[in-house]
Homo-oligomer: 475 residues x 2
């Protein structure tokens, strides 16, 4: 049975069961996504103020069989938040449920509503001398519900894990409107199936996350950051191993940066201070957060000396001040900005077994050669085996002249990722962009289990229809 559209009559009827101004016509901002490739189709947005209102909305959608798109900050990169076709869905934005409900510094926990913005959660933790370590480029607008729904990653996964690892409990509205009350502040709780982790990463297809208990960490007593020039990705991986031997758990981030990325920065953001007069072909940005009595500057110097002796690095810069640390990080964070200004033909968010990363980068380059003289910007969270492997037109040429290569390029790359035991979505999720890739590369038994669970928990198929799992023709 097909879904019904969320048209005016439905919205007006639902509005009568909710406080004034909960339903509004959907402004254009709810229909856009950051890369501008997808355009959503929806007439109404619901803006609930509390969990009970969310439950009322979901129950009404179930009764009318109207699709619902849970909406956070709208920063997702796989079109999980925009549905371009089919019956109009209702957009359910959590933006008004944006409070930090409690901070428990002595337990290293914090409870936030799903609409809380990541930067606000970070600030609430910092106010009590604690760290909420999830950190990514869109932290000023991404919201906790969406970050959990997509199991977001970012730069600190190496040390602190991804969003999943930072969540201790959830409150959520299930597809029939039941409220799951699971906001426990426990480190250990082995009472039944892991519903929390099932909802995390389900991208709103199994329910709506309305609040979460999050895990905080001690603020490191001292931080240090360095750029280290490496010959190639293999040397970068050996450097990571060496750094672990030296510094153990103190490594917060270990990012690979390619010369192409630095060239893009020089081309598009020329005012940005680049670290080396000549752009090296490969470098690593390493970030340390150490405890009392440890000196990150000394640790980085010792690491640099050892890496130099081992022939792994040829040059390096250790940040001499917090301001310089921030400058170093700006370089990393502006690479996606420069990428967008140059204009990628195709972007990829892949992960690989660490031991396979160096060979993969070389092989992928070879396999892509027949497509023509594309520029490759390969960078990312090397410590996690997570690369953003993006294809660009040759310098001075128009992106449009090469767009026809996108499909072949992505296919070549994803086939190699699959053959290498990697993932075609390391941290961005599946959304609608990769739903058919998931069918192609996913484990058949896992896909069967996913479809079985989706049908069982959401038999009407109202929750974020078409995201993660494609719909059948009738819906």
């Amino acid at each position: 049975m097909a879904l019904a559209p969320a048209q005016d009559a439905f919205a007006q009827s639902l509005a009568r069961h909710l406080p004034a101004d909960t339903l509004r016509p959907a402004e254009p901002r709810y229909l856009e996504e950051p890369r501008g490739k997808w355009h959503g189709n929806a007439a109404w947005v619901a803006l609930p103020r509390c969990t009970d209102d969310v439950a009322t909305i979901i129950r009404a959608c179930a009764t009318a069989r109207v699709g619902v798109i849970p909406y956070g900050g709208g920063t997702g990169l796989v079109a999980g938040q925009v549905k371009p076709d089919g019956p109009l869905p209702l957009i359910l934005s959590l933006e008004r449920m944006n409070k930090v409900l409690g901070v428990y510094p002595e337990e290293n926990t914090l409870i936030a509503q799903a609409g809380a913005i990541l930067a606000d959660v970070q600030a609430a933790a910092a106010d009590r001398n604690r760290l909420f370590p999830l950190s990514l480029a869109s932290e000023g607008s991404a919201r906790i519900g969406g970050l959990l729904g997509t199991n977001a990653g970012g730069v600190n996964v190496l040390r602190y894990g991804n969003a999943r690892d930072l969540c201790l409990g959830l409150e959520a509205v299930l597809p029939d409107g039941q409220v799951h009350h699971g906001l426990k502040r426990l480190r250990k709780d082995n009472t039944g199936y892991d519903l929390r982790n099932l909802l995390i990463g389900a991208e709103g297809t199994l329910g709506v996350i309305t609040a979460a208990t999050l895990k905080l960490s001690p603020v490191p007593a001292a931080q240090g950051t360095a750029f280290l020039v490496v010959n190639d990705p293999a040397a970068a991986l050996s450097l990571l191993s060496l750094a672990r031997d030296h510094i153990g758990d103190g490594i917060s981030a270990f990012e690979l940066i390619s010369g192409v990325g630095l060239d893009f920065l020089a081309e598009k953001l020329p005012d940005l201070r680049r670290p080396f007069p000549e752009n090296p072909r490969w470098m690593v940005l390493i970030d340390l957060g150490l405890s009392l009595g440890q000196d990150p500057h000394t640790a980085l110097e010792n690491l640099f000396e050892a890496a130099l002796a081992a022939g792994l690095v040829s040059d390096g810069l250790i940040a001499q001040s917090e301001a310089q640390r921030q400058d170093f990080w700006r370089v990393r964070e502006d690479i996606p900005t420069a990428n967008r200004m140059v204009g990628a033909i195709a972007s990829h968010d892949i992960s690989l077994p660490l031991g396979a990363v160096a060979d993969f980068i070389a092989t992928a380059r070879e396999r892509l050669k027949p497509l023509g003289p594309l520029r490759i910007n390969c960078f990312g969270h090397l410590g996690d085996g997570n690369l953003h492997f993006n294809l660009f037109p040759p310098k001075g040429t128009a992106r449009t002249a090469f767009l026809h290569l996108a499909e072949d390029g992505s296919r070549i790359l994803h086939e190699l990722v699959h053959a290498t035991g990697g993932s075609i979505s390391a941290e961005h999720g599946i959304g609608r962009l990769k739903a058919s890739d998931l069918e192609r590369y996913g484990d058949p038994a896992k896909l069967w289990a996913m479809r079985t669970i989706k049908t069982a928990l959401d038999p009407l198929g109202i929750m974020n229809p078409g995201a993660v799992l494609r719909q059948t023709a009738t819906t």
Copy 2:
């Protein structure tokens, strides 16, 4: 429809599809559990040598609608591995699938079959200078599949997480005999629902784990251990906070030990060297694992000085050698042994929000007083908020004279845990022992989701029937 019993005819028919000697009559050891409170009922055990054989067995059980109990080391404490009544299940022991299939030190990963014994996995990691940090009393016999199936905890959860946090990928046979191939060696993989975490902690009720990719860690460069005498649990928690400020991530374990536990050791294991001439009322065992250039002895001395100055500790001992470190740990590890020799009336495996632990211990003692002069040994993984809160008869009295208080004692305690936002099973799981407690204290929406998932993935109800979720009268 009721399950069919795994009788001789079924076993003989199944044996024809499997290599010789895969099916055997069930020896008594498969029908026992460590506390001797439950006795299993089964005639046959299957001992497959490979995943394909596991799939053959599960398919045959599905066809004949025979219940299957996935069996690891048999060390579980909640009767997940023994089914005392109903149609005879087939026991499916993974003990022959006990190999470490690969160690990848440069990636900090290891792949093991489900029947690999924890101590063997630890040793395989240590051989390559890596740490597999899962550590618990039964590590010499517990197997990886069971440890993951129950999401086991242990002494290093504070730093490294529980079994769930140490698993990157799974191979498993689903209830219809499909094999899920998910042995990826990836740190990040956001491709669909989290089937891995759904199988972990499901106690064999949603499928059989046959192999796992596990996460390794660097071996700490230096370790240090201390006993610190504290006035009460509140002081122990303040000490934990102070220790985190001083030592950050370097704290591997933080265990609370009560004077009652030390008295039991003195009574039942008098040859064991106790740390202090007079047993203190409360003490903490703290374990550090630090990286290169850090000295755990100095770190512990500094912590002790600071804690003394803050009035949190009154005495302390820092291990002066590795042998003394092992002696300190022996004290902790022999407490459950002494408990068993004294004979508990009722044992509990609870967790609480850290901020609520101290009040809980005091209140629980008050609430239990009306039952009579019971002795309480409250100890455990304080850093995780996980306490083992066990009730014993007064000294010199027979346990049997007090056993009638077990039910009331557990009820009083679990009601208080529930009211405090805690868990009635922190690390041991639900099994059959706590299935009715789960119904009483579990979140109704979560229970609905669990039953819905169980019915969808295992519609015949053959996987570990009656564990976690109670069966209906007909099965």
